[in-house]
């Protein structure tokens, strides 16, 4: 039991919380209060992910809690589009977990090995960490309507695409959560 908790923290909590902290700070170009952000996200993770795994409601709650934590720490620097940034990070974590899940053997002999590989894959995008803030600023600048100049994409189209992406991700995560629960049972 203690060993399982230790592994959950080592291969579960620490890498995922670290991923979210780094992803948020690099995307928004934040340099202050990173340790506080890490600690508060860890608490949110324990509340939402440890207590009840594989329930979409708690995944959503986790995203909302991270947003509120950012609002608490960074005040006006946190904007509504950060919900989409956090969700994007969450979608990536889910994709990596799903890849690990499909390669699990039925007897779980490769469980720890797959978990370890998944944790490494989680940090691969940070090779391009310099691009995160550039893309974020572009996304941010296209969010509000501006009829005075011609743009590659309309503000309303960008919002629609963002919302549809989140909704489809929730639908697919729900399917993934149900199949993992069935697998565990």
């Amino acid at each position: 039991m203690i060993f399982q908790i230790f592994i959950s923290i080592l291969l579960g909590l620490i890498p995922e919380v670290l991923f979210f902290t780094l992803f948020i700070t690099y995307t928004k170009g934040i340099k202050e209060k990173r340790v506080k952000l890490f600690l508060l996200i860890s608490i949110a993770y324990i509340l939402c992910m440890f207590i009840q795994r594989y329930k979409i409601f708690y995944y959503m709650l986790f995203v909302i809690l991270i947003y509120w934590i950012m609002k608490f720490l960074y005040k006006k620097k946190t904007q509504i589009i950060d919900v989409f940034i956090i969700s994007l990070g969450f979608i990536y974590v889910t994709i990596i977990s799903f890849l690990g899940y499909i390669f699990f053997k039925e007897d779980l002999s490769n469980y720890y090995f797959m978990m370890f590989i998944a944790r490494i894959l989680l940090f691969i995008p940070f090779i391009f960490k310099d691009k995160f803030n550039i893309l974020y600023k572009k996304y941010y600048s296209l969010w509000n309507r501006n009829d005075e100049i011609k743009r590659p994409i309309k503000s309303i189209t960008l919002r629609n695409i963002s919302l549809v992406t989140i909704n489809i991700a929730i639908f697919l995560m729900n399917i993934y959560a149900i199949s993992v629960i069935n697998f565990i049972q």
Partner: protein, 189 residues
């Protein structure tokens, strides 16, 4: 009677759009109550918050309405506990309440940045005099254009805010702003 005939095409379009949304919901094997609940909730949020963003093109409007509702109906498979807050969030984002603040203090991209800067940074008397003379002439000769000039360049209102205040279509406002900008550049620069 004339008013009804004027609005009839848009009423027919909206009815067809709503029917199409319901057909999408039914084809996803959802209960009618859930379809109605999500549809009404989405519409109520946008009405309540105000400033709903729309497409001018009816085909784009219909396409994106169907896509958004299809994706909302898919979230209902995860339960109403999930889909109801998501519907409220979608409604919120698709209004002007979902706008972001100018956090990075970028120069707002505009075709009239040169005029904004000319007015803002005019320190010499002859420049200020030229601007005043332009405003005086514009006020006498084209009072409606002067109102637009004043709202945009002196009070700093955004394009859609001026549209709403003066109740003119966006394309006409852009055309008038271009006329003002051309005159300003010729007269003052």
């Amino acid at each position: 009677m004339k008013k009804i005939l004027y609005y009839l095409p848009s009423i027919i379009f909206n009815v067809v759009e709503i029917l199409a949304i319901f057909i999408v919901g039914i084809s996803l094997k959802l209960k009618l109550e859930i379809i109605i609940l999500l549809f009404v909730l989405f519409a109520m949020v946008r009405i309540k918050l105000g400033g709903a963003v729309h497409y001018k093109n009816p085909i784009k409007c219909a396409f994106w309405s169907l896509t958004i509702f299809a994706s909302l109906f898919l979230t209902s498979y995860a339960g109403l506990k999930i889909s109801l807050p998501i519907t409220i969030f979608c409604g919120y984002i698709l209004t002007t309440r979902g706008n972001v603040d100018d956090m990075f203090q970028w120069k707002r991209e505009s075709n009239y940045n040169d005029i904004d800067e000319f007015i803002k940074y005019s320190v010499t008397d002859d420049r200020k005099e030229k601007i005043k003379e332009f405003e005086r002439k514009l006020k006498i000769e084209e009072p409606q254009l002067y109102d637009i000039y004043s709202l945009r360049f002196k009070e700093g209102y955004k394009h859609y805010e001026i549209q709403k205040m003066l109740d003119i279509p966006g394309s006409r406002l852009t055309e008038r702003l271009n006329r003002i900008a051309t005159s300003f550049r010729i007269y003052c620069k």
